[in-house]
Symmetry: C2
Subunit: 342 residues, 2 copies
């Protein structure tokens, strides 16, 4: 332990075997707790020479009525839907919203966090960049007792509330659909394999294969770096494979669209020769020909739920005990997988 | 004049017949000005009992290295491109960016402004909401000497620097193209007629008609409220017109895409029977069939130019004299207007 180290609520919680939020409520003299519990915690805090974080307290009291949001990118339809949901909810409850984008950069994400904290936002909603693999900045935020929660790109390392989408189930739905439409060999085009969504959607892909009488040996997985060039290379690789798949599930719609354009350029009939599906329901997917089967994620609802829960916490309407919200996805069958009617 | 009214730099400038930025530089004791000019301004300021805005000064000195951005909406490809340009430029110069969206609401725009000013941003980049018809909030910002400039949706009422796109010329290019491809009767589908871009693009539309030997009587103008429902109604109206146009220029791509879908549903060949073009070059426009002829706007470059100019002003590399940057657009001819080869 460093010299001059300040005792944290986490350390008090650990000593007593209670949760951090219980410690927090005890030190705030919350009426929700039993007086004995409160007494035990306050005495422990005093014995450990705990210093109440006066700055954080004063910030909490002089509310700015502003929420800070950090998203990886704003050009993505999904994240801009999240933000619309957050903004509409915040407005209804008298809050304004300031947004920073990390551009998928870990350094930028940390700079965003410093900026929004310096701007004295009342709370933060954070979706992690692809590069973020260590969480010291979030631990620090947590220790400073600045209220925040995470959405979509989350980590289990920090005990705050989270809103995510059931990625594995969404992938299951679409792969199951391809197999039910009569595809014999369904491939999965994945993004970089260490991405959370790559893994989760692979899980759903494999489970759908197994549930439809296939084995793990039947899995055919291609990996793209998610650039248009990478997607086109994968499409050409699929076409040149000796044992070509007759159904392809792409991790996200932009990949499926690039793949479709290459298939069409090469005279492949979609879905006649190869059925194709994506994930996310981008605006383009409904107007491309053939229209793209996909999975819709409740991006707007995710923003609403995240903002409402954080504001409920700020207004002491709910406890700060971490909650986990997992939202369901919906299969949107379109022409790109309509094998049965052809 | 209200009681307790504080004398502004604008009033001093008016009295002396000099620009506000000259007054500002004189009061900051800038070496750029002739000592006599400086002396004359300082004496006038004293005689008028001008109070230096100490708060603004102190904010200016303790830089936060943050730029605030206000945009009408984040789901628009154009504005998210602007933001990418702003963000990349700011990052390179050691600044971070906080973004607020007005959701096309005047009240929200004013709330955003208050939020960003309270967060002590060093400067602001503002694009106005559709609803904004009065400018007191911007006059106020100007009076408080908080550096800002405007982009895309601007007003001439405030003497700050602006970056816009040459809308009229872009519309001219696409209408000229439709006529050169052999269209005899080209219609314009406009948004609400009081919108700045509706007017500017109409200007270009009419000029292209005139330059191609048509008269103003040949103009055929439809108006949509820019909702999908409104766009579809206009498309049906076009189809039922006794003297149907054989070329249609839609004010923005999303309108052209809705119109195209209705045409196709009604068995109209595009471009065979009606050629169709849009404006903005949305990602969908390149993948729809037939691919949509459109005009690309330099959204990213607009962001770069706006951010660089504002940062140049903040760093005293350029004067605060208002500049006007007008960026050129590019015609992107695609299949939806290819009449000649059919």
């Amino acid at each position: 332990m460093k010299k001059g180290h300040q005792v944290t609520m986490k350390e008090i919680a650990k000593k007593l075997g209670v949760s951090v939020s219980t410690v927090s409520r005890a030190l705030k003299d919350s009426p929700e707790l039993h007086p004995d519990t409160k007494k035990r915690i306050v005495e422990m805090a005093e014995s450990m020479n705990y210093q109440y974080n006066l700055l954080a307290q004063s910030l909490r009291i002089s509310k700015t009525k502003v929420l800070g949001v950090i998203v990886p990118e704003l050009t993505s339809h999904f994240f801009s839907s999240n933000i619309s949901g957050i903004q509409d909810t915040a407005s209804k409850r008298g809050y304004n919203v300031m947004i920073c984008q990390s551009n998928e950069s870990f350094e930028q994400e940390k700079a965003n966090l410093r900026t929004l904290v310096a701007a004295q936002v009342d709370g933060l909603l954070i979706s992690l960049s692809r590069e973020t693999k260590s969480y010291e900045h979030l631990h620090n935020l947590y220790e400073r007792e600045i209220p925040f929660m995470m959405f979509d790109r989350v980590t289990e390392e920090i005990p705050v509330s989270k809103v995510t989408v059931d990625d594995a189930h969404g992938a299951y739905l679409v792969v199951d659909h391809l197999l039910k439409e009569g595809c014999k060999r369904v491939a999965y085009v994945s993004g970089q394999e260490d991405l959370y969504i790559s893994k989760k959607r692979k899980e759903g892909y494999l489970k759908a294969l197994l549930d439809n009488g296939k084995s793990l040996e039947d899995a055919i997985i291609y990996v793209t770096d998610l650039t248009s060039k990478g997607n086109e290379e994968v499409a050409l690789k699929i076409l040149s494979d000796s044992n070509r798949p007759d159904g392809v599930f792409c991790m996200i719609d932009p990949v499926a669209i690039d793949v479709m354009l290459v298939f069409k350029e090469n005279g492949i009939r979609v879905p006649g020769q190869i059925a194709l599906a994506g994930f996310t329901n981008n605006p383009t997917s409904g107007v491309i020909e053939p229209s793209l089967t996909t999975v819709s994620q409740p991006g707007y609802e995710m923003g609403v739920i995240a903002a409402n829960h954080l504001l409920d916490q700020l207004d002491d309407l709910v406890s700060t005990e971490p909650q986990s919200f997992v939202l369901q996805t919906t299969l949107i069958p379109r022409n790109s997988t309509k094998k049965t009617s052809l």
